[in-house]
C-alpha cells in the first residue's frame, strides 16, 4: 500500500492543464513541418507555416495555442496499491483543473447544465476516465479537447456483414462531412469493436498515441496508412481551403466485440492535439 496525498494530484493536474495548452507536443510540430514540406496548395502551405509560428509563439509567451483550451479530459491509470489521503480522488482532479485553468488564464468552456447553459467559470468539471492497474503509482494524462473537432465526431453500430469495407467508408465519410470545421490538418482517432461506449472511448484514447509511433498491431499499421492516404485524397487540405494535407495521422484501436455487432467510432481532433502526462 502507498499513500498519495490528494493535494499532489491537484498540483499535477493543474500543471498538466497549463503545459498541455501552451506547449504543443513535438510529435505534432514534426508532423506539421513534414506537411509543410509536401503541401502543394500555396494557401495550404501558408496556413501550415502560420500554424507552426503560432505554436512557437504560444510556447515562448506561455499563451494558449488555441483559445478553445478545451474540455479537460483526464485519463488516470490508478495503481491498485494506492490509497488517497486527505481528500477525494475525483475532487482533487476537479480542483486541479480549476486551479490550472483560472491560474493559467485558460478559457472556461464548460456549462453546468447542457440545457440551461450557464458557464461554470473555471472549466470544471473534468471528464475522468480511470483504469485500475497493478502497482503503486498514479499516471495522469490531461488531454484538453476542443469542440470544433469534437462536434465533428461520429459513431455507428455497423453490422458484421459490412466488415472492414464498411468501417473504412464510415471513417472517410466522417472526415468528408467534417470538412473545414475541425481545423484541419486533423488527427483521426478510431475505435473499432467493444460496445457503443467502449468504441467511443477507444477512439478518444487513440488520440493519445504520439504521432509517428507505429500501432502495436501489424494489420492496423496497414489500415492506418491506407486510411491516411484516402483521407488526404479528399482534398480538404489545411483549414479546409483545399490541399494535400487533411490529416496528420490516423490512429486505430480495437477491442473484442459481440457476434452481432461491429461498432465504429471516429473522434476527430484538430491540429492542436494536446496531451501531457505525469506520474506520482
Amino acid at each position: 500500500m502507498r499513500e498519495i496525498v490528494a493535494e499532489q494530484i491537484t498540483d499535477l493536474v493543474a500543471r498538466l492543464c497549463q503545459t498541455a495548452n501552451t506547449d504543443l507536443g513535438n510529435d505534432v510540430m514534426n508532423a506539421l513541418s513534414k506537411a509543410y514540406q509536401t503541401e502543394e496548395s500555396p494557401v495550404g502551405k501558408d496556413c501550415l507555416q502560420r500554424l507552426i509560428e503560432n505554436a512557437k509563439i504560444a510556447a515562448a509567451e506561455s499563451m494558449p495555442i488555441c483559445q478553445d483550451t478545451g474540455m479537460a479530459i483526464v485519463f488516470v491509470e490508478y495503481g491498485q496499491e494506492v490509497v488517497i489521503k486527505d481528500g477525494d480522488f475525483a475532487q482533487a482532479i476537479h480542483e486541479g483543473v480549476r486551479r490550472g485553468y483560472t491560474g493559467g488564464y485558460l478559457r472556461g468552456s464548460m456549462v453546468q447544465d447542457p440545457l440551461q447553459r450557464v458557464n461554470t467559470g473555471d472549466n470544471t468539471p473534468a471528464v475522468i476516465h480511470t483504469r485500475i492497474v497493478s502497482g503503486e503509482h498514479l499516471k495522469i494524462i490531461v488531454a484538453p479537447k476542443g469542440f470544433g473537432s469534437e462536434n465533428m465526431s461520429r459513431l455507428k453500430m455497423l453490422t458484421p456483414a459490412e466488415g472492414i469495407e464498411g468501417v473504412k467508408k464510415f471513417i472517410i465519410e466522417t472526415v468528408s462531412l467534417a470538412g473545414a470545421n475541425p481545423c484541419p490538418p486533423i488527427v483521426v482517432g478510431v475505435g473499432i469493436g467493444g460496445s457503443m461506449e467502449m468504441a467511443a472511448l477507444l477512439a478518444k484514447e487513440a488520440l493519445l498515441r504520439e504521432i509517428g509511433t507505429p500501432n502495436s498491431k501489424q494489420d492496423l499499421i496497414n489500415l492506418e496508412s491506407e486510411l491516411l492516404v484516402s483521407i488526404n485524397d479528399l482534398g480538404i487540405g489545411p483549414q479546409g481551403l483545399g490541399g494535400r494535407c487533411t490529416a496528420l495521422a490516423v490512429h486505430v484501436m480495437t477491442y473484442p466485440t459481440h457476434i452481432a455487432g461491429l461498432p465504429v467510432a471516429v473522434n476527430i481532433s484538430c491540429h492542436v492535439t494536446r496531451h501531457k502526462s505525469g506520474t506520482i
Binding site: E40, S41, P42, V43, D46, C47, R50, L51, E53, N54, A55, I57, A58, E61, M63, P64, I65, C66, Q67, D68, T69, Y105, L106, R107, G108, S109, R117, N119, G121, G146, G148, N151, E165, K168, K169, I172, E173, S176, L177, G179, A180, N181, C183, S230, D233, L234, G235, I236, G237, Q239, G240, L241, G242, G243, R244, C270, H271, V272
Partner: protein, 195 residues
C-alpha cells in the same frame, strides 16, 4: 500571394471587389460575438427590442477569447466554427451586418443572404489563437458582460490576416479549393464532396 489591406468599416466597394481566395489584412474596429450572443441578438429582434449595438456596416468576428493575462490586451483569440451561427446569420445580415470572420463552411441559406445583402465571409486561421492575439490591439466588452468569453467585444485590429472564403457573388473557396485537390477514392462512391 498578393495581399489586400482593408480598413473597417467595410464599404460596399470593399465587399464588391473582394473575391474568394484573396489574402487580406484587416484593420480597425470590429465586433466579437458567438453562439450565446447571437441567440440573444435574435431574441431581441423577435421581441421587437432594439439591439445593444448597431450592426449597420459592421463586421463580426466569431470568437470567444481566453481570459486576458496581466499586461496584455487579450488572451488567445482564434476563430470558432461559423456554421453554428448559420441559423442566426440571415437576420443579422438583414440588420446591415456586412462582414463575418470565422472558420468553416456556411450553409446555402447564409450564402444566399450574403448575395442578397452584399456581405463577405473571411476565414481566420483556426487554432492560431496566440498568433491572432498579436493583431488585436484593443478589446472592450460592449454588451452581455455576463456571458464571459461569449460577451460582445469591440475589438481593434491591426493587420489581422484572413482569407476571403465566400464572397458576395457566392464563390466559395471551401468548395472550389477542395475540388481542385480531391482525387477519386476507390472505396467510396463520392469524390471529395463538399458537404
Amino acid at each position: 500571394m498578393a495581399v489586400i489591406t482593408i480598413h473597417f468599416p467595410l464599404s460596399q466597394d470593399d465587399v464588391a471587389k473582394l473575391r474568394a481566395g484573396d489574402s487580406v489584412l484587416l484593420n480597425g474596429p470590429l465586433l466579437s460575438g458567438r453562439d450565446a450572443a447571437h441567440k440573444r441578438l435574435i431574441t431581441c429582434l423577435k421581441d421587437g427590442r432594439p439591439l445593444p449595438v448597431d450592426l449597420r456596416g459592421e463586421t463580426i468576428y466569431y470568437v470567444g477569447p481566453c481570459p486576458t493575462p496581466p499586461g496584455r490586451v487579450i488572451g488567445s483569440a482564434g476563430p470558432t466554427t461559423s456554421g453554428r451561427m448559420d441559423r442566426y446569420t440571415p437576420d443579422l445580415l438583414g440588420q446591415g451586418l456586412r462582414g463575418m470572420i470565422g472558420k468553416g463552411q456556411r450553409s446555402q441559406v447564409v450564402m444566399d443572404a450574403m448575395k442578397q445583402y452584399s456581405a463577405v465571409y473571411f476565414a481566420a486561421l483556426g487554432g492560431a489563437g496566440a498568433l491572432i492575439a498579436r493583431s488585436i490591439r484593443g478589446a472592450k466588452v460592449i454588451a452581455y458582460p455576463d456571458l464571459g468569453p461569449e460577451a460582445i467585444y469591440r475589438l481593434e485590429v491591426v493587420d489581422f490576416p484572413v482569407i476571403v472564403a465566400i464572397d458576395a457573388m457566392g464563390n466559395d473557396l471551401y468548395q472550389f479549393g477542395r475540388e481542385e485537390f480531391a482525387k477519386k477514392i476507390p472505396i467510396i462512391d463520392f469524390k471529395g464532396d463538399a458537404v
